[in-house]
């Protein structure tokens, strides 16, 4: 199966960037990642994580989570994440949304860092020895500024409505997906469908297109964001998210849920 082959492109120890739940999560890649992808993953949530992140953690695939938050939204807290934190089973790099964006931006620009306001005096900053604080060189002394180094994911994975036969992908106004692809060394995209019409043919579609230059692999996965929704295509299945949230409250419940899903997909 194509998705399994793509999951094999994620090596053990890889830094893997995944998008926020409403931007286009490639849920279709979750089981392939668990069964065919590498272990000890360093997840970067752009800028927050949800079901996919929780499942990867629950399946024991994750060593480190770099994120501004992990939650199931309306369905409540992320049970496997919360458990792994309590048990000390994963390392944490707690961030704040714009700092995740700042790290990707530095990578996008090939810059050594991005300066950002805020953060001073927070425990977020206090627990990030990989960040720096300098006095603003444009000031007259004082004025501390946080500097965020580049986040360069080994792999970025997300889901979009459509790609064309030239490898271009339509991301619409979800420009964080472009930021992820710019920053990443390898970008894997699943899509609802392939269009015969080149996306760059019209200015209308070109405006929301991520060029093939940044896309390494594309696979078709209809309803590939489910139970999350996909903008302009289908809404989220909140009942299913709640069903997961309830089941995954225990490790056994999580295991049963995942086994059932594997059965459904077989």
């Amino acid at each position: 199966m194509e998705l399994n082959r793509l999951a094999e492109l994620v090596p053990t120890g890889a830094c893997l960037a995944l998008p926020v739940d409403y931007a286009g999560v490639s849920m279709a890649m979750t089981l392939p990642l668990i069964r065919h992808g590498g272990d000890d993953l360093h997840l970067v949530c752009v800028p927050t994580g949800g079901l996919q992140v929780d499942m990867l953690i629950g399946a024991g695939k994750v060593r480190l989570v770099e994120t501004s938050a992990v939650s199931l939204g309306e369905a409540g807290g992320a049970p496997c994440f919360n458990r792994a934190v309590r048990d000390g089973a994963i390392d944490l790099r707690d961030a704040t949304c714009p700092a995740i964006h700042a790290g990707l931006l530095a990578a996008q620009k090939g810059a050594p860092f991005t300066a950002m306001r805020g953060l001073i005096g927070t425990d977020v900053l206090a627990n990030r020895p990989d960040w720096r604080v300098i006095d603003n060189p444009f000031g007259t002394g004082g004025d501390p500024v946080a500097l965020i180094p580049p986040i360069v994911p080994d792999v970025a994975i997300f889901h979009c409505p459509v790609a064309d036969r030239l490898g271009n992908v339509w991301i619409g106004r979800r420009r964080e997906l472009a930021a992820m692809a710019y920053a990443a060394k390898l970008t894997i995209v699943t899509v609802e469908r392939i269009s015969d019409r080149p996306l760059l043919e019209t200015e209308e579609m070109a405006a929301g297109t991520l060029p093939a230059l940044y896309v390494d692999e594309i696979a078709v996965a209809p309803k590939g964001a489910r139970p999350y929704g996909l903008w302009g295509e289908y809404g989220p299945d909140t009942a299913e998210l709640k069903r997961y949230a309830a089941a995954a409250r225990s490790t056994e419940g999580f295991a049963d849920y995942m086994t059932a899903i594997v059965g459904e997909m077989a």
Partner: protein, 275 residues
Amino acid sequence: MSSALTTPPDAPPSTAPATPRETLIYTIAGLLRGIRHVAVGASSPIPAAGAMLCRALAERDGDPRVRLSILGSVQHNFFTNGSVELFDCAGQGRIDAFFLGGGQIDGRGNVNLVGAGPYPQSKVRWPGSFGSAYLYFTVPRVILFREEHSPRVLVDKVDFISAPGVSEEGVYRTGGPKALLTSMALFDFDPGRPGFRLRSIHPGHDLSEVRAATGFTFQADDSPAVTPPPDAETLALLRGRVLGELSETYPAFADTLRAETAEAGALQKEEALHK
């Protein structure tokens, strides 16, 4: 609540007295008065309702237009540059107000969205800081909103500072906490002290109850004001236009509001019968 209690959306607004939640919404609208642009989280229906009421009141009174961005919503979100745009927008000074909750809020206005107990192995882990470590610094009017008013939430000192209430001199900061609103009371934040000062207590609660439920010390008059409920005209606007707008984005919450109003109306009639 049974849906039989729900007033159909096109019926004339109920004239029942304001429910506690409607008073909260009205209070939020007041806290937002004068802003041009407020951003609200996707799962924050009460702040959203307050912002919608503020927008409707501004329109009614001929005040400058109020913009409302509901994050994560496809329909009521005019951002087109991905999820970074909210933060850029705040950095540009184009967002006047924002809401923050918090697993813990302390008396210096510090907010903890990360977890209870020692970090990183938190005993109770919450989702995380989201954008708070930036927005608290850059949005002039941050309203701390948490319905639960208990010593568990309103603590003396947070276990983790996602975002600090005040900053040392010399730290660039154009924003910060303006007020704290719970299901029990409304506090103003004074960055000079720094600390909270009780502005008013919602109908049905009193100062000793508020003191007992609050884990930090705060300033208060001996006889604090009662939080005013909306006047009849504003209530009609809330139950009419605003509820209609709310139904588009938060249908379940709008139903709850309608049910509560119907219940209040039924109670009112019942009381009238017994008089």
